[in-house]
Amino acid sequence: MVVTDVKLAVRDLNILYGSQQALSGVSLDVHEHEIFGIIGPAGSGKTSFLRTLNRMEMLQENMTVDGSIVFDGHDISEIKNVYALRRRIGVVFPLPVGLPLSIYDNVALAPRLSGIKDKSALDEIVEQCLMRAALWDEVKDRLDVLGSLLSGGQQQRLTIARALSQDPELLLLDEFSIAVDPVTTMRIEDVLKELKEEITIILVTNLVQQARRLADRTAFFLDGKLIEVGETEALFSGEVKDRRTLDYLEGRFG
């Protein structure tokens, strides 16, 4: 096996909402340039896990996190400039959030926030990100239309374009295909496979087959615990350490 660089090292992560434990004792590594899949039933803590990676718990009063998360060799709890951390991590939510700005401004927002003012540079970022998110052809003639007036699936691709506009090193996708039709989902999946060459992707998905198609390795969460992590192919071919993983993968659950 090739030695891979660790992009993200999580150790003994616990997440609490008030006194309710949402995640307990999770340890895992995410390697550079891989798509890391996370699967698990509703309420297993997948979204909570993603939220802690860019320190969104700071903005949620009842949420507490302990354990260590090391991103690119830096313990993120010690990073003072969390804004810089968040800019390096792109996030796509399950439900599309087209900001009530024009399509152009939606995608140009992050670059602008980080200080890019040059019009032609922004134009290029906007075009490139919309292309990558498979939305460019549909909106190139109406970039000044409000992003929030696009269809649900288009807004989701706009959200992806916006996440890419940050030029992130790590992309977190939380059930991105819920509001997207199958054809577009396939197109985006192809884009993700290409993106893997440049960045690291964590893909939370409810579609077991999507994890199989995309993820190099997959983690299975259940009731706030990490049941196991393994090479996706191995897991799907039945090489599991825990019976419950196989049950979930084969849809025998509950």
Partner: protein, 304 residues
């Protein structure tokens, strides 16, 4: 569409959509409530219509270029209302300059920055109570705080600040409500991009709350222009036949002038009183129309 087993042989599209007794009842109820709510709306409009109608009929003839732009004469039993008109505009303008920035900033703090603690809950309660304080109490506060303590004397500044304190809750509450109506997901999307709270407020939250903020402004303009008590002891003069030149001058004001000629000037013709009231209402309507136009202009531009 297929029929279920329990259809009892009845078939055909026309019967499928026949109204059941429950449907009919719901329909009647819906009609009833619609009529009821419509009636309430009408009841609301009736007093406004009557007031405006009476003022128009009885005060309309008094309105003339002469009336609007000349000074009162003959011990305020004749002449115009120009200094009062100008004075009211001064009072409204200066008090908005004070109340809008403070009120909007306070609302932003309460809704976007402050955590939910006993302190913020206390502040919110205080704001609601401030809205319930009688205007004469505001007047006394204004005399103590602005006229005497701050040393502004009886002046436009003291009167406007008193009015500003009085209308602050309107601005704060309207702004806070409209900020909270902006979906949380918008903020989270920005925060995830590495935006600071202030960047998020400036780019996404405020532009979408602006129309609610303007509603607060509209409400406070009406109150500011119409109140008499808060300005009576703080800056409005009984009779002051000059135009103010600075905020440290006293001034006449429409609401005060109306009060004076109605209660303290024997022999002032009714026409003068109705004319003054009509002008005051029209002035408020014009200012409101301006903000409403501006608000719908902004609404047309931004939507989600």
């Amino acid at each position: 569409m297929t029929h279920s087993e329990g259809d009892g042989g009845v078939s055909g599209p026309s019967l499928m959509f026949a109204a059941t007794p429950l449907n009919t009842r719901n329909h009647r109820l819906q009609w009833l409530f619609r009529a009821l709510f419509g009636l309430m709306t009408l009841i609301l409009v009736v007093p406004v219509g009557i007031i405006f109608g009476v003022l128009l009929v009885r005060g309309g003839p008094a309105i003339s270029f002469e009336f609007l732009f000349s000074y009162p004469s003959d011990g305020m039993t004749a002449g115009g209302i120009w200094p009062a008109l100008v004075g009211t505009i001064w009072l409204v303008a200066v008090s908005l300059v004070a109340s809008v920035p403070v009120g909007v900033a306070a609302a932003i703090y309460l809704s976007e920055y402050a955590s939910d603690s006993w302190l913020t809950r206390g502040i919110n309660l205080a704001i609601i109570n401030l809205a319930g304080v009688p205007s004469i109490v505001h007047a006394l506060f204004g005399v103590g705080a602005f006229v005497i303590f701050a040393g502004f004397g009886t002046s436009i500044l003291a009167a406007s600040l008193t009015l500003a304190v009085m209308t602050l809750p309107l601005v704060i509450v309207a702004t806070r409500e409209s900020l909270q109506a902006v979906p949380m997901a918008f903020r989270e999307a920005c925060w995830n991009m590495g935006a600071t709270r202030w960047q998020t407020i400036r780019t996404v939250v405020l532009p979408n709350a602006i129309s609610g903020i303007l509603t607060g402004v509209i409400l406070s303009v009406s109150r500011t222009a119409g109140e008499t008590a808060p300005i009576m002891f703080t800056g409005a003069a009984f009779f002051f036949p000059f135009l103010p030149t600075s905020v440290f001058d006293q001034t006449m004001a429409m609401a005060m002038h109306l009060f004076v000629i109605s209660t303290a000037v024997p022999g002032a013709p009714d026409e003068l009183k109705y004319g003054t009231a009509l002008t005051l209402i029209t002035l408020v309507l014009l200012m409101n129309a301006g903000s409403i136009w501006f608000r719908s202009y902004l609404r047309g531009k931004k939507k989600w």
